[in-house]
Symmetry: C2
Subunit: 355 residues, 2 copies
């Protein structure tokens, strides 16, 4: 929607004339904020509001994607397929997307999601493991789905390596590749360098997306910087719902895109009302916070699944939560290596283990 008339008029708008798509992940990444307890009624209310407000893509799945509902990642209140079906029933214009992490979600899960009506699958891997996305990207293309390759924890590799991984996903059939700042550890300059590298490698015709978290307070600015660097689709979630300090808030992002001169299909004022009147009500007391825990995750460059365990280990061994997280950051841990928390805590506590 066009920007309201405000501010000085002698400043060039960096996104003037640019078409930017908006993807909302309240009902997927945002599920982390509510321990995956969204119900079909919530999905209908939120997805319906997002669709009416002109959002382009709406993602609906367990926070860890299709098949995420489990002892390890937390059980959903309702099955992914039921939630996707609920969204399908209310969405008129937007595309409906699901997330899939190879190793968690299977090709069978994908087929069921396809049958329930998704248009897009976002296949997510750690930023150095694009090669494990091939089977699912191929499978998705066979089903006729639009495909996204989602490179998580993109701050952990430099621009060139990230471009190489993006190329692997592109070659496997990804229609769009995403730079994903899962730990909210990036600042705008780092986003720009990565987007530019991917763009230089894959060409201007390749669609690139940006998924930004707010652990360093820079989610919105990172999405804007990505757009200015050539990204054509940006993620957000209403009220920033999501892992860690949450995502760039979609309603804030929409306002900022307007103020940057971008053309979007989003009705910003309507979207603000969906955030405030629907999401804030459903998620009362559960909106994400930029507090010590989430800030330290961004500062250390660690995924949010480490926080709770680190807090427990810090208390148990009488060492600093911050020091554990920073040391884990130095060791470049990734999801699945949560057992290293205890090693680091013991080491920091100066405890000698018996031989």
């Amino acid at each position: 929607m066009a920007s309201p008339v405000v501010g000085a008029d002698d400043v060039a708008a960096p996104l003037a004339g640019r078409d930017i798509l908006v993807c909302d992940t309240t009902l997927r990444d945002g599920a982390h904020s509510v321990a995956h307890q969204f119900r079909a009624a919530d999905v209908r209310a939120i997805a319906g509001g997002l669709d009416a407000a002109g959002v382009n893509v709406i993602e609906v799945t367990h926070g860890d994607g299709l098949g995420g509902s489990s002892f390890n990642y937390g059980f959903s209140a309702e099955d992914d397929i039921d939630l996707i079906t609920a969204a399908r029933g209310v969405i008129k214009n937007a595309k409906l997307a699901a997330l899939l992490l190879p190793g968690i979600g299977t090709l069978d899960d994908l087929k069921r999601a396809h049958d329930a009506g998704i248009d897009v699958v976002r296949v997510a891997t750690h930023c150095t493991e694009a090669d494990i996305s091939l089977e699912h990207l191929h499978g998705a293309k066979k089903l006729g789905l639009e495909t996204v390759g989602f490179l998580m924890m993109s701050h952990m590799v430099g621009p060139n390596r990230l471009a190489t991984e993006a190329e692997i996903m592109r070659d496997a059939g990804a229609d769009t590749v995403y730079v994903v700042d899962s730990a909210g550890a990036m600042l705008p300059h780092q986003v720009v360098e990565r987007v530019e590298a991917v763009r230089a490698r894959l060409g201007d015709d390749m669609l690139i997306g940006m998924h930004a978290h707010n652990n360093l307070g820079s989610g919105v600015a990172n999405a804007l910087a990505a757009a200015a660097a050539g990204v054509s689709i940006v993620d957000g979630s209403l009220h920033g719902l999501g892992a860690g300090a949450g995502n760039a808030a979609t309603e804030v992002l929409a306002a900022a895109l307007d103020r940057s001169g971008a053309r979007t299909s989003v009705h910003t004022l309507e979207l603000i009302d969906v955030a405030e009147d629907i999401v804030a009500e459903i998620c009362k007391g559960k909106l994400p916070k930029l507090d010590r825990g989430s800030l330290l995750l961004g500062y250390a460059g660690i995924y949010s699944s480490f926080l709770l365990h680190t807090r427990r280990a810090a208390a148990r061994y009488g060492v600093s939560e911050a020091e554990i997280l920073l040391e884990l950051g130095r060791r470049r841990v990734v999801g699945g290596q949560e057992d290293m928390i205890i090693d680091v805590a013991i080491e920091l506590a100066g405890i000698q283990l018996p031989d």
Copy 2:
């Protein structure tokens, strides 16, 4: 403090080798969040924590500056001078600052603040009214104070005009001039253009500062962008306490400055603890929110004092709060013109007034 080892090592840090000073305004702008009810004990705890964590400047005053305690702006729990005295008693290294708005604070107020031990006065005017700062800047220099010219609502004029106003303050004796985004209405590109214009006009030796609010979710990024454009001191407040959606959070800013390669005297982990263990406790339930109200202020480019009155007028006349704010933005209202809210509400409601 040096950045922790995280992320990719092939990305250039935009503030590498740059010395950046940090000014914290929890105890001044942050007073807006607690309706100016900070007490001397709060000031001692917070200022003491900030000082120990290496912050360079600590501002302590009513949210609207010296003399702000009044029916119009809200009464303080304790007199400014008592709060300044309390801060003076605990600060060992930082400079102690007070805000003064000509028309609210007087030269007498300034003398009392000087006697109570401030080192710095920040003289604040609307961005087009630098000329009303002259008397106070002159008076401050006579008292031997360090002086800051604080150009509020800087989004409302273009870079060149802002540079002209900055020049007026410089010529009146301001040691530093600040670009102040009072309405949180700016995005990084607008900050950069303004800082560059001021710098081009006043020369590289002139000290420039940035005061950023978070109404468009861009406070931290705006401060970083300002630093990269040549600003040498950036404002924040712990947990972002302050008007509207609050300021750039000092503890987040410190983490982001570290990650940008800047040299600061701030101990980031200690500062995070002050935010969480002291400020969040004192201000429980009062931390600023990026919600519909504060977002609309940033989107419309309106100062936060308009929000409560607009909400009342919207309810009374049955019109949209958002539409009133956006129309006020188009009319470029400034603090003191709150009566226009009713005019706009009546007009939007289509009410014919009797002749």
